[in-house]
Structures are given as structure tokens and as C-alpha cells.
């Protein structure tokens, strides 16, 4: 029983990670054919860093992801605070409302946002080219918001309610109480919300495809247009780097969490 479990688990991990391995191997291949590994090289990586248009795209994606996750984290945290302070009935309703966009198919969100932007842009603001960097950013903030709220809410619920009372008792205005006490308590939720928003933003294709114009395009949208012809190996190199970036972020997030838990557990045992 134990052995079958172990074998199954191994198989699942192989299944999950083999595509990444193939991609990584391909990024070090001298030949253009993925089916045949000729010899090992870093050439693709050199080429990648010489290709200014690809780097530009990567830069675009990073700019949108960072800005969108920053804004979504700020707004999301404020929203979570507001929802948390509602009475239980309203809170439940508000949480359902914030959860719906998450389960909504991306293509529906993308098309409806696109329609909205075009309508507002051309009809109300009278612009000819209504899909810009700003519409893309707004769209990304929109779909990131629920993820931040979802991460921050449980931390607010876990927090001892009397902590804010205590802060106000000791002279803090509600705003001071938030920055001096509440923020520290819910920080882990904010950080994981921000990282989640960042990764969601970085890899979004469907929604971005509908809301970006010609003058500002993100990496996934542009790569999609490449796939009609064979992909260049330097793109594999870039994907490998992106994969590593996300991997490092995830490991860092987990380490911070483990370290935090251990520190708490350690200080607790020290007291006894």
C-alpha cells in the first residue's frame, strides 16, 4: 500500500513537471528540432539577451504585472477591511460577489471588459484608439482583486478583534491602529495575495488578448502570434528563466512562512 502510494506520487510529479523539463532541455539544445538533442549550449540565452524586442516584451509584461499586483494588493486590502467590518449577512454576500469573477471564464471577462473599454473610450471619451496600456492595466487590476481579498480575509478573521480595540485604547486613531497593529497581523496574507496577483498577471493571455491595443502588448499575447510559425529556441530560454523566477518566488514565500511559524513555535517553547 505504502509502496503503491509512493509510486503514484512519483508518477504524478513526473507528469506535472515533465513538460517543464522538456522545455528546459530544449533551451540548451544547439539544434532547432525539439525531437533531437544535438549538444549542450548557452547560445539561446545569449541570443535572448541580444533580442531587444523580446526583452521589451518581457519588460512590458513585468511592468504590467508589478503595477497591477501593487494596485490590486492596495485596493484589495482596503476592500477586505471594508468587507470584514460589514455585518455577517452582508459580509457573506460581499464575499460571494467577489468570488464570482474568479470562477467566471476568462474569455467572458476579457470580452466584456473589452466591450466596456471600447464603449467608454470611443463613445464617451471620443478616442479612436481606445485599447491602450491603461485599459490593460485596469483589466489586470480587476481580475487580480478577488485573489488579494481571498488571501487577506482569513488573516483578518484570525486576528484577535481586541487588538484593534487595544490600539485605540492606547491612543491610536483608527487609521493609526491599522498601520501600527492590523497591518502587521495581516501581512502574510497581503504578501501571498500580492505574489498570487503577480503570477496571475504575468501569465494571463486570454483577458490581455482582448483588452490590449497595438501599441502595448504583453509577452503571452505576442508569443501567441508567433506560434503560427515554428518557435525560436531563444523563447524556450526565456520561458525557462520565467519558470525559474516563479519557482524562486514560490520557494521564498514558503520559506518565509515556515521560518515565521518556526520562530513563533520556538519562542513559545522557550517560555515554558
Amino acid at each position: 500500500m505504502k509502496r503503491t502510494n509512493r509510486i503514484l506520487t512519483t508518477l504524478i510529479f513526473i507528469f506535472l513537471y515533465i513538460p517543464m523539463v522538456v522545455l528546459i532541455v530544449a533551451s540548451f539544445n544547439t539544434g532547432k528540432d525539439i525531437t533531437q538533442f544535438e549538444s549542450f549550449t548557452f547560445k539561446q540565452y545569449v541570443r535572448l539577451f541580444q533580442d531587444s524586442s523580446l526583452l521589451q516584451l518581457l519588460g512590458n509584461s513585468l511592468i504590467v504585472s508589478i503595477l497591477a499586483s501593487f494596485c490590486a494588493t492596495t485596493f484589495g486590502t482596503v476592500a477586505a477591511l471594508g468587507i470584514h467590518n460589514l455585518n455577517p449577512k452582508m459580509r457573506k454576500a460581499a464575499m460571494t460577489l467577489t468570488n464570482i469573477p474568479m470562477t467566471n471564464p476568462d474569455i467572458v471577462t476579457g470580452v466584456s471588459l473589452s466591450l466596456l473599454f471600447v464603449f467608454v473610450g470611443t463613445r464617451m471619451l471620443g478616442q479612436r484608439n481606445s485599447l491602450t496600456f491603461w485599459t490593460l492595466l485596469i483589466a489586470h487590476i480587476t481580475f487580480n482583486l478577488p485573489y488579494v481579498i481571498l488571501n487577506v480575509m482569513p488573516k483578518l478573521k484570525q486576528m484577535d478583534k481586541s487588538l484593534t480595540d487595544a490600539a485605540m485604547d492606547l491612543g491610536c486613531t483608527p487609521v493609526q491602529a491599522f498601520f501600527r497593529v492590523t497591518l502587521h497581523e495581516i501581512m502574510p496574507g497581503i504578501v501571498s495575495g500580492a505574489i498570487m496577483a503577480f503570477t496571475m498577471s504575468l501569465d494571463d493571455f486570454v483577458i490581455s488578448y482582448f483588452v490590449s491595443g497595438l501599441d502595448f502588448v504583453t509577452l503571452p499575447v505576442e508569443i501567441y502570434s508567433y506560434t503560427k510559425k515554428p518557435l525560436q529556441p531563444k523563447i524556450y530560454a526565456m520561458f525557462t528563466l520565467l519558470f525559474l523566477l516563479i519557482l524562486v518566488l514560490m520557494i521564498a514565500m514558503n520559506l518565509i512562512q515556515v521560518y515565521g511559524d518556526r520562530k513563533k513555535a520556538h519562542s513559545r517553547t522557550a517560555g515554558i
Binding site: 484577535d160 481586541s162 487588538l163 480595540d165 487595544a166 490600539a167 485605540m168 485604547d169 492606547l170 491612543g171 491610536c172 486613531t173 493609526q176 501600527r180 497593529v181 502587521h184 497581523e185 513563533k264 519562542s267 513559545r268 522557550a270 517560555g271 515554558i272
Partner: protein
């Protein structure tokens, strides 16, 4: 006479149509140790939260130092609170927790340092400055919470069941400690508890509450010796409560006998509740007794025996240091000062009859429950 500091006038609080506080009128004197005592849900914590400014009353006024403070937020009141589960800030160490209020008030650094170390001395936590609050024991966390509140030199300290989470030994130590701190600082303490012993041993004034109303206000001795109604008599210590008739001043009739008592001022032939404390009853040989009864159960309590004695179908609880076996016939004598007379109230008939109480009965039902469980 110390001066009045806080006054609550016709205070009413309602949540979703439910009345939590019902017309509270109460004043607090400067330098006083006042305890709000009552069972859970009696409104004592709600009263405390109103004084702290965390809750606005539905109607009525709160006056502090002669000024109406209904709408003054907690951070502008000269009041600090020790919360039930301490509510220490987990991300700050002991020093920063205590210094919190002073830092918010932007006091000079050296003054903060001086006052915090002075406070650490008072609560005997010197040397713990850099410890994380999670690493402290319950009693130590408690003292940090007290220091964090007192360092701001409030006019009033509110304490919401601060000892509830501690074990018995520590609770006793902390009771003495709190009383000592209160006397040393002269700060008004408003203390909330459901523990009657705690209330009686620490307070200058005890306010007994139930169902959102004040049942009795008085010094601990008065509350114990002269309870105003059956609820207070039962909640503060154990009481036998019987129906009686007040014939005239100093004469009361119950169990078909007329007893001398020390109470007066009742209407002629008024129906009253008669309270007799189990420890006040003297046991004598049957032929010398005012009343004669049969022991139906005996429980060893350490300091004394709790015996249940049946008198004409009514069961009394009597506390005695002598052993009286089940079935033995004893007489009791009641001195005039052992008999306390109360007006009838909505609580009459609800407390003070030990007919339903018996250790054997409890054991029997527990056994039956166990068997059912198996």
C-alpha cells in the same frame, strides 16, 4: 468623601431588538476599586465597553469628570483597558508593548524609557524587556497588559475579567498584586468578573448585575450580609431562601414559628424571602433546636462538610465542621442576626431550595448517563 468621576445615566443598549442594558444608573468615585459582578450575559462587559468608548449606548448619557462623553472615541479618553485575553501586540516585544501608548503620544524618548522601566519594576518584569510576548507565561502576559495600560497614567483603568485565564494559585497572587497596584497608584479601577469571591475580596464597591439591570450596589460586606433579592443572595455565596411573613418590625414567621430578627421597615404581614447562610446555622441536639430535621446527604469539602438537611420537605444546605451521618436527626438554632429578610422580587422562588440538590442524586444521574453512553 472622594469626588465623583464617571456617571452613567439611564443607560440602555439594544442589539437587534434585544435589550442588553436596561436603564443603568451608576456613578464611580475617584480612587475607587469598583467591581461589576454578574453571570455571563448580564451586561457587565457591555457596561465596561461603553465606559471605554468602544460602544455607544442606544440611549442615556455617560459623563466623565462632569462632561458628557457619549461621542468621545476611545483614543481621546483618559481611560485604559486590560483586555480579557490581554490583547498584547504579537509583533512587538515586552518593551515596545508597554511603550506603545507613549510612542503614539509622541513623548520624548528618554521619558518613554524612564516610564517603561519604572512600570517594569512595578509589575516585577525587569529584565524581560526584549522578550517576545509569545514566550511569556499567562501571568507574565497579564502583567505586561497591566503595565501597558498603567504606563499612560490613566484616570481610570478598566479590567475585563483579567484573571479568568489563570490557574487558581496564580489568580490569588494576582488578586493581591492588583489590589496593591491600585492602592499604590490611586487610580480608579473598574473591574469586571463573574467570580464572587474575587469581587468580595478586592473591591471597595460591588455592583451586582443580572439581565442588563443593576440588582444591588454596596460594600462587599453589605452585599453579602444584606442581599437585596434572591438573585443576589444566591449569586453571592450559598443561601437557603424560604418564604416567610414579616409580622412586625423584628418579628418574622416561617416554618410555623416566629423568629426574632434584626430587620425592620416592612409592611405589616408582608410576604418576604428569608435568607439564611449555610455557615451561620448552629447545629444543636434535637431537643434544644428551633427546628429539627434529618440529614439526607453529606459531602466532604475540605474545610467543612456540606450537609443537606430536610425540614418538613424543604431541604437546607448547612456547612459544619462536625460530621453528621446520613439519617441522623439534628436540631438547629438561628440567632436573630443570622436571619436576613428581603422583599419579594421577580427572583423569588427561583433560588435557595436545595431539594433538587443532592450529591447522591448527581452521582446517580451521572452513572445513568454513563451507562447510556456505553
Amino acid at each position: 468623601m472622594s469626588k465623583e468621576l464617571i456617571r452613567l445615566q439611564d443607560l440602555t443598549v439594544e442589539f437587534d431588538g434585544e435589550r442588553i442594558l436596561d436603564g443603568i444608573n451608576l456613578y464611580f468615585n475617584d480612587h475607587e476599586f469598583l467591581t461589576l459582578l454578574g453571570p455571563s450575559g448580564c451586561g457587565k462587559t457591555t457596561t465596561l465597553r461603553i465606559i471605554g468608548g468602544f460602544l455607544k449606548p442606544t440611549s442615556g448619557t455617560v459623563t466623565f469628570d462632569g462632561k458628557k462623553v457619549n461621542d468621545v472615541p476611545p483614543y481621546q479618553r483618559q481611560i485604559n483597558t486590560v483586555f480579557q485575553r490581554y490583547a498584547l501586540f504579537p509583533h512587538l516585544d515586552v518593551y515596545d508593548n508597554i511603550a506603545f501608548g507613549l510612542k503614539v503620544a509622541k513623548l520624548p524618548k528618554d521619558e518613554i524609557k524612564r516610564r517603561v522601566s519604572e512600570m517594569l519594576e512595578i509589575v516585577s518584569l525587569k529584565g524581560y524587556e526584549n522578550r517576545s510576548v509569545d514566550s511569556l507565561s499567562g501571568g507574565q502576559q497579564q502583567r505586561v497588559a497591566i503595565a501597558r495600560a498603567l504606563v499612560n497614567r490613566p484616570k481610570v483603568l478598566l479590567l475585563d475579567e483579567p484573571l479568568a485565564a489563570l490557574d487558581l494559585r496564580l489568580r490569588k497572587d494576582m488578586q493581591n498584586e492588583l489590589k496593591r497596584i491600585q492602592q499604590a497608584t490611586g487610580i480608579t479601577f473598574i473591574y469586571v468578573t463573574h467570580d464572587q469571591e474575587e469581587a468580595l475580596s478586592m473591591s471597595d464597591t460591588v455592583v451586582v448585575m443580572d439581565k442588563g439591570r443593576i440588582q444591588q450596589i454596596g460594600r462587599p460586606e453589605d452585599i453579602y450580609n444584606e442581599p437585596k433579592n434572591a438573585f443576589v443572595a444566591d449569586f453571592i455565596g450559598e443561601s437557603n431562601i424560604l418564604d416567610g411573613v414579616m409580622l412586625q418590625d423584628y418579628k418574622v414567621r416561617f416554618f410555623g414559628r416566629v423568629f426574632d430578627c434584626v430587620d425592620k421597615g416592612f409592611a405589616p404581614s408582608e410576604n418576604v424571602d428569608v435568607v439564611i447562610r449555610p455557615e451561620d446555622i448552629d447545629i444543636v441536639p434535637p431537643e434544644q433546636g428551633h427546628l429539627v430535621g434529618t440529614v439526607t446527604s453529606i459531602t466532604f469539602k475540605g474545610l467543612n462538610y456540606d450537609i443537606i438537611v430536610e425540614f418538613k420537605g424543604f431541604k437546607w444546605l448547612i456547612q459544619t465542621t462536625d460530621y453528621h451521618g446520613v439519617g441522623s436527626v439534628i436540631g438547629i438554632r438561628l440567632n436573630p442576626e443570622d436571619i436576613h429578610i428581603m422583599h419579594k422580587s421577580e427572583y423569588s422562588g427561583m433560588f435557595g431550595d436545595y431539594s433538587s440538590y443532592s450529591a447522591e442524586y448527581d452521582e446517580l444521574t451521572e452513572d445513568a448517563a454513563d451507562e447510556e453512553a456505553e
